[in-house]
Assembly symmetry: D2
Homo-oligomer: 479 residues x 4
């Protein structure tokens, strides 16, 4: 085995998995008109590993076997590893035309979180299972989804709360057999899961003793019996009224994954009732995953800067003071995001023996891009002008009775072809879809989740600052 | 003649007008699959005038003829008239299912601006033409578009600047004949023009003497020879993957209007080279039009409050402190908008003998809803959760293989049917389209246009404040 | 009796009251070097009533006696009365050189709140006591403080909570006798109380049955036995290093009022254990008092606009785009505050038979000026430049060895005397003291108090909006 | 020679310099009641170098001489040097009780900027003069001010503009002699200059050819003939009404420095008419100086976090959701500032052969703390409560007639001594002085200066982003 080719990856998806899309069962995700776009987007990761200029970034030589493995499944050791992993995701996203391949990104975050948590629990079987599973991923170069978010029901109630309409709003263990555990429940928003090989399932919140059966983590192939995925429609095609662009469409969907009493063999079980470790597992994953979110949002924010400057120039307003202010705000945003992402690797923290980006800083970085997305969208729309919505379509451009009028009247600055302006407006229209807004604020955890984490993680340093303030105020305390 | 019925309005649109939609020429706007939705939305205004409960609000008895006329074409006299006009638009928007009919709103803003400017110019023929045209509108109860925004070319250059790629980026007089003037150019973003009777054209900026031929205002029927409209595709149909809603679809499109050397008879010309009055005309219209923008955004913002509270309750989080903070922010926004809109009628100003809402306050009101739209959208998306994007569709709901899973797992607070939650998410998805964002910040003038107007209009009071500050500082000046 | 002169007011303060100031007991507040500044500031109200041009604004003819009384103690009947009261406070503040006299403003808010609550309770004795006390105030034209805020102790605990260090953190009834009640506790931040005639005491929060002894409201003269006031030092003198200004210094201090087992006669008791009415009394007062806060902050914000424009001109930067943006932001702030204040009178509400400004809008108005104060201070400091802190003093100006250097080098725009620039900087330095910041956010209730009130008051309209949203979403509910 | 002791430093200031303070000439800055506080604050730097635990941070072994020199005057070579220099300033500020010693910080920024610019100009004599002057500073361990900001006059006019009231608003060369140049003008806001040894003067803006005489940089001892400093009063004493604190008062003043036709010998001239290099010199200094600003603001922001948490706990509200939100906002601010400051060292840039922190990121870091200062002050004031202004004084605390009342009634959470609460409020009152606000937004350049720099520095990357956006939009351009 070893690194997979794009073709091998596609072949691996024809495995009998159960996936529904817009009300219909999908026969083959690699040929389905919409889902094949997701498959193609994920393929960028495999393609990248085959490109000589990215070999160093995308792969690492396995210390034991001497074989090249994906950098994603390599366990980071220091700042440099963390920065390279970050750079790999940034670069992969750029190669994907501003869409992160996701092929192993979240999966690796989940694998690392499971390893860290296994070390923290300290049970030998968990440590071994994690190591074996990692070796399996490395050897077979597998794509993997990290499945965390439960459907939750009433969001303020605990999993085991009797006020919940039923006990299955969080994935739980309904039985334990000699072959493994039987799990039931559903995970929502699982990115790219319909076309990934493995699903690594984790709890999504802290648990109490009463919730012990909900403290469960495991990995299974996507074609496991009882696993049903319901994907939702996504922008997999260019609009027929759009100017054609000579680049493949890149995008992802996600799925709600139903676990309809699924058997998970013991060697794939990573948490099974140890409710005290649900929270550490969540935190370990969340930090890594939020750092991943930062990584793939950097190219997206850079493109915001780019379209803003482009359409400002096309409109002839790039020197207007208030436009320069707006572009400056975009620059501040993107540079702050990059600096926070990098500084979090400088000041890394170690949990379960594995270094991860600084938790407080990572959450601030994630919060930064999530909290400011709408404001940046607004800036771009402001610079673009109302034509963003009202511009006639490519069909009008093709109609000889209207083409000349459009070409004449929709010009901007002299020397810029009208078609360039219309194409840039079209691109902005696509970039500012509400999907982007919702992904920014909800993917990798809500705004409030980041704020809670920042507060909790920073509390020791807050108390240290308080101590110093008391000294300066001339207050003597016993502690 | 007199008040038109809905049917008479529709019949009036079958007049040979030239309209293109998504690359194809439209035979009959009242039967075209998409444009008929705009026609239906505009019809709400005619229907309202026929409903006894709205008769007082929608109509006024003409002082001369004793006949009922639309309140829109009635010239306001005082605060009460301005508040009633405001209330009429708020109410019409609610009746239109949160879409303003627009049938005469903008047209009346334009008619009033033309009347005011005619009085300010003081030329007898302009005053008479304005009066005659108003009587024509009253008598025939006509729908009318106000066409202001030129396509502009390089947006920082004046109309007559030689650096513009051609001289036709702003509508201009290319010839004067004994029958009238010949005009050429194009107006962009003209709301609902494809299905309105009259087009009232105005300049969109201040002019210098060199721009005199661009200082032109006139009204013509939409089927005038040489008038070509290119509309753009809009959300005229429910998505087939959506839960069906038992209400008509309400929405508008707009058009780019080409004036391909159009003859305008003298009695329909309201400005013809008096470049000094381009700016007053713009300002008169802009104030009224921005007040109209406030009027129809009030119900839209109220609905934001409503969906936020609804989905918070469905998700079980309506008592969470940060959610209450977000809903409070929405309430502050809607109440501030309402208070500014009403206060601007209290402190009205008179130009050309006609009272209009206070210019400074109106611009602040408009700026307020435009500047905060994205932030409010973000709040709603934050409360709704990621399911806003990832929720499976009505088609999955209809498929018996997935329906039960969806019903079970996508429930929120116990007692709220899952379908309610999915429907509310669907509604939020539609409300938070980027079209709404762009309309908020660009329709009725850009954010920067409001800021410039606020600064300019407030300058006398700023200087008054400066004077008082100098007194308090012990500074003696000569003036 | 009847309207008091300034001299009569001063005489009335020599009554044996117990006031401490900066560690020393005050013999006579009207001659104390600092407190006499507060007395002078309060006197502006009495002086205003004697000025013919303000007679109509400042006084009302009593319906029963035909005598003129202060408008403050007149019970408002409609929008016009509310707007006149608002105008009276705005004007009084301007006359006070941007400091509100406060002589009867807060006292009248408290009196009205007591009247409303008496009517809501419906007990005859409370209604009569309120009427009698109002007549007393009218007849003797008395200055009065409204004393609401308790010292609170642990701010998250109820008054009667045993975790409080002692039971006296909120003013409470410690005994009931035939002559009256005995009260103990302390009220903090009571503006101008050291030089006012009467103290009207109210609870500051909602109460439970356990807190019944804390549900107490009463009025007593400031020289009542057992009443001890501790005022704090305030800016009562111009700095000796300042350029002299030929206007009296106007400013207020406040006091912590200790009630050291004070006997209150029954006819002055307005609430005595009816814990259910603590909250309505708080809400009634808070609305009126917050509207008062809006009234006196309007001239303060106008002066912010004035100093910003003045120093921008003196520095030569008034045309710089970013400076115009900042001044526009100040204008938006002041006009929004004025519009909200006026709109709240338009949409007044009636409680206990007395109209008061709309609660939701008033709280938004108050929140608006409180929440934006720091941002406006920042704008002014930004425009003023670093010289705001580093400018040499009037003493350097007087020293012939440095005067000429200062005059030469600290000039700004040619034609503006250097002294004008230094005086304006001095004024800004005084305006941007942290006292102003803290008053803005804490006087009349904290930011969070306004937000809670807005949310609570708006809840019925929020639910109405929710209903409409459900209709538009196609959701049918039973209610 | 070599490292100076504190005493040697003080002795070196008794050199006949001309300093005025609040209208009077100062005989000896080291014994002047106010200025000796500044001297003491600056002494912290010399004291630090003598403390064994800081030896490695504060000093570097000179490569040539093998002698220890101050790290400040060591030329940085790489990221590690930049981070150490940053850490030195952070630590020095903490040792100074939250006040940066400033002894060589700004001087070293200026020295480095002069070295870089000399290398960029490439004239041998400038390079040698810079090297010699640096050796002089190292050898004599001198304190030095960087004097950049001119008094400017009309701030929108160039130095040589004839509309300026006189030609001396910017320091300029009025004569060139064989001994050196004669300079005239004044520099404002020069921190700590009254008690520093050397003054390094630089231009403060870009210059045109017409401004060549204003393109001048030089260094002179503070006691040079014709140099007159006018300092301004500062908070050099604890308020007598304050609780005493057993720590020395630490604070700085600054001065306006008059250059009254001062002779500067040629070996101390670093720029003399090369107007093209005025801007690079400004930019080189500004970047370093803004990074210094970040360094000393970090401990100040940390103290903000500390006082916020302390007073929240003392008030009993530290668990209230909105208080936690506010403290989270403070944490986000301080961590963002720290991360940007460190990331700017990671991504350093080289000019004139010397590495400096990344310009774009440094300016964003500086802007971040400057732009958010007021908002953070507001948070602290909000948490502290109104007692921040209204709390009685230490004098009341000492008066036995009021002490017990204060102790009883001003308690907060049970178990926290009242005096602790009053002390913390006192400290917050001092921290939130407007001086801090003005320093945050004006020291090291105004907010707008940072924004302009960010925009200018980022332009190459903006254009790169634009290019990529065009590729994604399917736009083919020639460049």
């Amino acid at each position: 085995m070893g690194l997979k080719t794009v073709e091998e990856y596609k072949q691996s998806l024809r495995d009998g998995r159960v996936v529904f899309y817009n009300g219909e069962k999908v026969e083959d995700v690699t040929t389905h008109p919409a889902l094949q776009v997701g498959v193609g987007t994920a393929s960028v990761d495999y393609a990248m590993a085959e490109m000589p200029e990215y070999e160093d970034l995308a792969t690492v030589t396995d210390e034991k076997t001497g074989e090249p493995i994906s950098r994603y499944y390599y366990t980071p050791k220091d700042t440099d590893d963390l920065l390279k992993r970050h750079e790999l995701m940034v670069t992969g996203t750029r190669l994907g035309g501003n869409t992160v391949p996701f092929t192993k990104d979240i999966g690796a975050d989940a694998m690392n979180a499971v390893s860290m948590t296994a070390n923290m629990i300290g049970k030998k079987e968990y440590v071994e299972r994690a190591e074996n599973f990692r070796a399996h991923l490395q050897k077979n170069d597998l794509s993997m989804a990290g499945a965390m978010t439960d459907v939750k029901g009433n969001r303020v109630l605990r999993p085991s709360d009797e006020k919940q309409a039923h006990p299955d709003y969080y994935v739980r263990i309904v039985d334990r057999t000699k072959d493994g555990i039987i799990v039931r429940g559903a995970k929502a928003h699982i990115t790219a899961a319909p076309y990934f090989n493995e699903l690594l399932v984790m709890p999504c919140r802290n648990m109490t003793e009463a919730d012990a059966d909900y403290a469960v983590s495991f990995a299974i192939p996507a074609n496991t019996k009882g696993v049903i995925q319901i994907a939702h429609p996504f922008a997999a095609h260019r609009d027929q009224a759009d100017f054609p662009v000579d680049l493949p469409v890149r995008n992802h969907t996600d799925s709600m994954i139903i676990f309809d009493d699924v058997l998970v063999p013991w060697e794939r079980v990573f948490l099974c009732g140890e409710w005290q470790f649900a929270m550490p597992l969540v935190y370990n994953f969340a930090t890594l995953h939020r750092h991943t979110g930062c990584s793939y949002h950097i190219p997206m924010y850079e493109t915001m800067v780019g379209v803003a400057q482009a359409i400002a120039e096309y409109n002839g307003i790039e020197r207007a003071p208030h436009i320069r202010q707006e572009i400056t705000d975009l620059v501040i945003q993107v540079q702050t995001l990059k600096s926070l992402s990098r500084a979090s690797c400088l000041d890394y923290e170690i949990y379960g023996g594995i270094p991860i980006p600084n938790r407080t800083i990572t959450n601030i970085a994630k919060y930064s891009y999530a909290n400011n997305w709408h404001a940046c969208v607004k800036i771009i729309q402001d610079i673009a002008g109302g034509l963003l919505v009202t511009a006639p379509t490519y069909r009008d451009w093709q109609n000889p009775k209207t083409k000349d009028f459009l070409d004449k009247y929709l010009g901007g600055k002299a020397g810029i072809p009208t078609e360039h302006r219309l194409r840039m407006l079209q691109m902005i229209r696509h970039m500012t879809r509400p999907e982007g807004e919702v992904v920014a604020i909800h993917a990798e955890g809500s705004l409030f989740a980041q704020r809670m984490t920042i507060y909790a993680e920073a509390m020791p340093s807050i108390q240290e600052c308080k101590k110093q303030a008391e000294v300066l105020a001339g207050i003597q305390t016993d502690d």
